[in-house]
Structure formats: structure tokens, C-alpha cells
Subunit: 316 residues, 3 copies
């Protein structure tokens, strides 16, 4: 996919479609901007007028209350007007094409589209067709990318670990079907993490994943050794019913993060998860709620990171 | 259920979960505050900035457009940001637990949760787990409680009858399955109403209801005699299909409020209903739309009462 | 239907239910007001405070994301509070009547109802029952009327053609089932268009349509001759399955707007469509996206026109 569209000729962010190809300076600019917003969300009046009068459309072609909510809150804290469109139940069923829908909303003088779509490349397609004053954020497209999730993960890592250049980071679980994992890998390597590992059963690891600059492991006991950051992935229930996995119990036995397995990592390792968690499948509750878990801070930082991306894109 | 959680150590309202256990002074404080908001809703610009920048989440695990709307309007008139979450269709179906959902929303720096849930105790459970700066309002949990409905009923009674200490009040209909009835009984007895009656067929009256301080009647002609206030309950359609009731016609014949039955009450008696009404089942249209009906004023006062509760909880 | 209700005794617009019966001066007043709002939607901060604190309810008894969205954006640009109610899934299913729903919302001190309903006359019925300070906009009722769509069409025609008095306008497609066509015919004849044509197969043309002051054609080659404005109608998919039409291909062959057929009209003719389009059925993509298409400007003007109607109704 053509990613160059997301940086304009002046080197500014025009869209956020994928982490792939973003310069390290841009990643740090987003994280620094997010840091300035963390304070806003803790104030009595959690609002800044940066996007007042802007019209932000949540275009969710795939249901996701959680992600939609984080963008809605972030936009409202920037004083934007938010319009939620749940498109599956709408014009799409009347046979209107994706681009007709987007062209119509553009003609209403939209300022930003937040796009979640089951098909990889949907946000890119939209970005390629909108007018130059409209910005697109990819909120998850198929198995391809989920850049704001990866950015909030990076914010969380930077918050707790400060320097990316000394870290061992492991991404654990269904890497194969995960847009989150793809975006995390690009972000970690761009930010200079020297060792990125992926740990998964063979059936859940894409072929040639090493070409992305990661080390592949099929065994938690080896893969977790001396790791500083554990990025757990959500196991899609659908995988269970297919031929890719024997059973939830089996999966938990070998890849579920228990206190015993976590003890293989560094004692100050942090545990992250994009949510929603399958407790007892990919993660044990004692770890999810334990002292090394930073899963709830991820959510908090997620609002600030989305405010940062939106204000960088549409702020004047 | 532990109700003491809703009053904090300084004697202030921390959550509104149930009427049970609330001191009479708190009930009057809410009603007095509501009175100050009635004027706001009649102004040209129906807004006050009391909750500006606060994030209020409508967490509706059970659909209810009407109740959700009243809270949404009340919050917007207080200038809060409102986020509607219809949770049945969302993360719950992805297997996330109620508490994970709530913890996530808390981590987004929510200020208030309005909770409607089919299970009794859901709002209590949430209140027990949220951070101290987050407030919970029970908007109906199972058969347990619906405190804001009872409060708006009390506001309406106080508005039309002034003094609670001289009143005969009858609650009529499906008391057994009604969270509204439970909350009304607690409110009426706390506010000093000397005679609270419940009128229902035996199958729709919970055993031992007299222990709540009410008099039970199975006969409208006796129960309505000299009553000042009639609180009608909605008959759930589901009850009809079960063994609890013979038929809608039979029910209407014996318990439906007709002008003839209403004539048994005091001539200045007022008729109330929480809505939505089943006209021709629990209430005749000529009564619902008649001169003694204060059903629409209930709705109007409901906005002011919800503004009062929200501003007492989250106002600074 | 009684349309006189929409103009009050002072000659001001009280509701917008239908174009039928509106004086030409009122139509121009709405279009002139819309013109002043076109600039607002192109500003950095796309907001004016005209309806601050007003509560506008989108009452959609029939799903329509597109129309609902245009009203929601228009209302937010006027700084109103918007509450979306999707009523099919709500109280209606609990057996509440339309009027009880509306009376309840009125009691919450609503300022305006935007009503979309599958039954002709629904908006009129509501307008007949609301309090005098509440305004109703018909956003489409059955086959009867869709006045804001017709007004935005008139705005678009005036924008591109300036004077209505010299125009030949053709309405093409399923006139029989179209509320849009009915409203367009009333608007065009009121504004003084000397020649309004309708072009459709016999099965899709209502009997006696000539009494509305239009000329009926069944043949595109005759009907399109020397036309200045082409108003395409959406072909409802349901018609295909019925006996009214042979097939989509047949329809496209005879009535689908291709470049060849468009060449029969005047060289500077403009092509309009209310959306969503069935590309390849009633319109060819090369026309929809071609130089004579003003379909996207229609959408843009639609926001300004709806802001105009709302501010004329509820502005102080």
C-alpha cells in the first residue's frame, strides 16, 4: 500500500494510516504532543478548544465500541463535534459504494474521518480520494494496521521504560491475524528497540516474519527470557473453532501468561494488552491485575495519544 | 446489598444506587436542588455550565431509549460531554467481563456512569470497584431499584400536594416485578407518608411486602378509597404470557384504572405513571389524558431531578 | 393533509411539513438564509451560536443514516444539542403509541423534532399535537413529502442557473413512489419554472400526475430534449422484485442516464440526484462523476439549507 500519502510535501502528517514508513522524529513528535495532553485529562474541566467547530466522523464499518469510544472522548476533549456512523446498518446495505459514502460526507465539509473497516487498505483507499483539507485516521483495517494502538503502546513503554534503545520486547500470541502486532513491530523497530521478539505457535505466525526485523520463538520459556516488555495479543475466538488451534486450554497451557511464565522475564518487566482480554486464555487474571500489568495506563494514555494525533492532523 | 457506599464519610452523596437507607434530609436536598433546575429547562438557553468538561457515560446493558434520553438531556443541559454505550451489542459479546469494561472506561477518566442493567445489583457492583472520583447512578437494575424514577415521583407529589405527612398513596399493579415500586415505597416511607398502600392481584404481590411498611390490597374498590396519589405501574407484556395473569382484558377489568375506579379516590387525587403506558391494560386513556393525570409533568420534573442528582454528585 | 398548520398567524414558518402551499416568498427566504450559511460551513470554526441550548430530537422511525447525519451536522453547526432517537428498536416495540412518545419528548422541553417515518402524514400528525413552542421538520414521510430535499435541490438549481423563470426541468425515474419527486414538483412550480417534465415508465408514473402542472413522458429521447436541469430519482430495489419493472438491465437501457441520453439535453444542463445512487441502474458512473454532475454540491448546500430551516423555525 502507498504509505507516502500520509506525509505531505512539507513533511507534515496529512493522514495516519500506518506506522510503516513514518520517520522516527514524527513518532516522537506524536508521543511528545500526547504527553502535553495527559495533563488535560486529569483536570477538572477536561477540555481544550483546539478543534472547536471541526466535524469528526467516526466511520465504523466494523463494530468496536471500545475504540470508537476512545476516539469520541478524545475528540470531545478537543471540543470537536463528533458524528458516529455505524455504516454496516446503513447506506452500504442500500448498495452505495464506500467511495460514494465518503464523497458525500466530504461534501458536508467533514474535517476528519476515523475509519475502522474489516478490509485491509480501506483507510488508504479513502485517504486517496478525499479532498486535501480532510484527514483520515486508520482505526484498524483488516489484518493490516492499527497505528493509534501501536502509538499508545509506545507511549506506555516510553513512560515506564524511558529509553527504547536498551529494550527487549516480546509480542506474544496470534501475530498472524493481528493488525496490532504489525503496527507494533514497525513502531518498535523505528524507535530503535534493538531486540523485538514474536512468540506464537507456528500456525499463528506469518511466514517470513523475520523480514520485519524480529526474532521468532515458538516456546515461551525461551522467548520470554530477560524480556523488558510483554505485548500480549488478543486471541480471536474464531481461531479456536478453526483448525489453527487445538483448544483454549491447550493454548493457555503453552502460551497463556501465568505468573510462572512471567517470572522468566526481567523482574521489572511490564505486561501490556490491547484489550478486550480473554482472561484464562491468553492471560491469567493474576497477571492481568498484578503489579507488573500496565494495561489500564495504556487505556489512559490512549486518550492522550488520540488527542495528539487528531490535533497534529487538524489543529491550526 | 451494601447501600452505605452511596454516602461518603462527610455525609455527601457519592453514588445514587437505591433510595433505601438515604436520610430524609438528603431526599429533600435533591428535591430542593431539582426545584432550582426546573427554571433552567424553561429558559431560552437551557444550559448551565456546572458539569462542563465532565465525561458522563450512559452504560445501558438493557435497552431503554426513554430513560437514556432523559439522562442524556439532563447531562447536556449541565454542559457535560455524554457518551452513549449500548453494551449488549459490544465488548460483552466479545467475552469481556462487566468489571473489565468499567475499568477501561474509568481509565479514560470518566466522571460518571449511568447504569441500566437487567441484573439486580449491577450498579452496586460497579460502584464498589470504581475510583473514588467516579460517581455511579443506578438507572434501573433488575427488580431491585430505580431511584431517579422514585425521586421524580416524589418531586411530582411534593409539587402538587406540598406536604407528605397527610397523604394516602396507593401503588397499583405489578409490584412483584417492579423496581420502580420498591424505590417508591422506600421514598414514601422515608419522607413520612403515613399510609402507603399496594394494590395488586395476589400473584403480582411479593410475599411479606407488609414488612416494608405498606398495606396490601387485592381489591381496587377498597384500596383506592380516599387515596390522594395513585402511582400506576406498567404491566410487563411478558407477565401476560406466563401463568401469573389470565388475560389483558381480565386484568383491565379488575385493576385497570378507569374513571369509575378513580372516582373512589379523593376528588383531588393525582394519577401518575412511570411510562411507557399500556393504554387499555393498566390505565384507561380517558384517565391517562384526563384532568387528574400528572403523567407529563412527571417527565418534565424528571429532567430537573436528574440534573439535580448529577450536579450534587459531580458538581464542584 | 392540512398544510396550513406550517405557517402561523403572523405568516411565519411554524413547521416545515411539505412544500405544498408554501408561498414563493417563503421559499426564497429559506434559500436566501441558506446562502448566508454556506460561508459558515467553509470557515475554520464551522459554528454559529444561533441555537445554543436548544434541544433538537432526530426522531427516525425509519433508518436513514445519510439524512439523519445532515440534520445532526446542521444542528451542531448552529450549536444546538442533538439527541438521536432510533425509534423502531425502542418504546414503539413496547407498545407505546407515536403520540405518547412525542408527548413525552415534548414534556422534556424539546425545541424541535426532525421526523422521518414510513407512513405518509406522520410529521403532520405530530405537528398537530405538539405545544406551540415546538417545531417539526418533516424529513421524509412515506410517499408524501421530503421538503428539505426539494429545498436543497432548488438551492442548487438557483446556484447554477440563477433564474427559475426560463428553465426546462425534468424529473426522471420512479415518480410514483417518490416523496422527493412530489416535493420537487411543488417547489419548481411555486418558484415559477415554466416547464416541468416527468419521465418514467407507465408503471412508475402516478395517474393524473399532469394535474400537478407537469408534462409526462415515457421516452427519454423526447423528454430530455432541451432540458436545463435533470433531477434523477433513486430506483428502490424493492420495485425490481415486484411486477412493476422487468429488470435492472432493462431499466438502465431505457431510463438509465448515459452520456448519450444526456447529450439530448442542453449542453449546459446540470444533473442532480438525491442519493444514494444506484450506479449502473438509474445513472451511469460516467455521468454521475462527469462535468455536468452537481450531485456533491447538492450535499454541501443541503447542510446550509437545513441550517436555514432550523434557524428560521427556532432562532430567536
Amino acid at each position: 500500500m502507498q504509505n507516502n500519502r500520509q506525509i505531505n510535501k512539507s513533511g507534515e502528517l496529512q493522514h495516519l494510516l500506518t506506522i510503516e514508513g513514518l520517520p522516527v522524529s514524527m513518532l516522537h513528535h506524536i508521543l511528545d504532543t500526547a504527553e502535553s495532553f495527559v495533563g488535560v485529562t486529569e483536570r477538572e474541566v477536561k477540555k481544550v478548544p483546539l478543534l472547536r467547530g471541526k466535524a469528526i466522523f467516526n466511520l465504523f464499518f466494523e463494530p468496536s465500541t471500545r475504540t470508537r469510544t476512545t476516539f469520541e472522548i478524545a475528540a470531545k476533549r478537543l471540543s470537536a463535534d463528533v458524528i458516529n456512523l455505524n455504516i454496516s446498518a446503513s447506506s452500504q446495505s442500500k448498495g452505495e459504494t464506500l467511495l460514494d459514502t465518503v464523497n458525500n460526507l466530504s461534501a458536508m465539509h467533514a474535517d476528519m474521518f476515523i475509519v475502522r473497516h474489516a478490509q485491509s487498505g480501506a483507510a488508504h483507499l479513502i485517504a486517496r480520494h478525499v479532498a486535501p483539507e480532510i484527514h483520515v485516521i486508520n482505526a484498524g483495517d483488516g489484518r493490516h494496521a492499527h497505528p493509534t494502538q501501536a502509538l499508545l503502546d509506545m507511549y506506555t513503554i516510553r513512560h515506564f521504560k524511558r529509553d527504547f534503545h536498551e529494550l527487549r520486547v516480546a509480542i506474544i500470541g496470534d501475530v498472524m491475524h493481528s493488525r496490532v502486532a504489525r503496527s507494533q513491530i514497525h513502531a518498535l523497530t523505528t524507535l530503535g528497540v534493538p531486540e523485538v521478539r514474536v512468540i506464537a505457535p507456528k500456525t499463528l505466525l506469518p511466514k517470513g516474519v523475520e523480514h520485519l526485523g524480529v526474532h521468532a520463538y515458538h516456546d515461551m520459556s525461551k522467548g520470554l527470557k530477560d524480556v523488558d516488555v510483554l505485548l500480549m495479543l488478543r486471541l480471536q475466538n474464531e481461531r479456536m473453532q478453526g483448525a489453527l488451534l487445538p483448544s483454549a486450554q491447550e493454548y493457555f497451557k503453552y502460551y497463556g501468561l501465568t505468573p510462572e511464565k512471567l517470572a522468566l522475564a526481567r523482574p521489572d518487566a511490564i505486561v501490556m494488552h490491547p484489550g478486550p482480554m480473554n482472561r484464562g486464555i491468553e492471560i491469567d487474571s493474576s497477571v492481568a491485575d498484578g503489579p507488573q500489568s500496565v494495561i489500564l495506563p495504556q487505556v489512559t494514555f490512549g486518550i492522550a495519544v488520540r488527542m495528539a494525533v487528531m490535533s497534529i492532523l487538524a489543529g491550526s
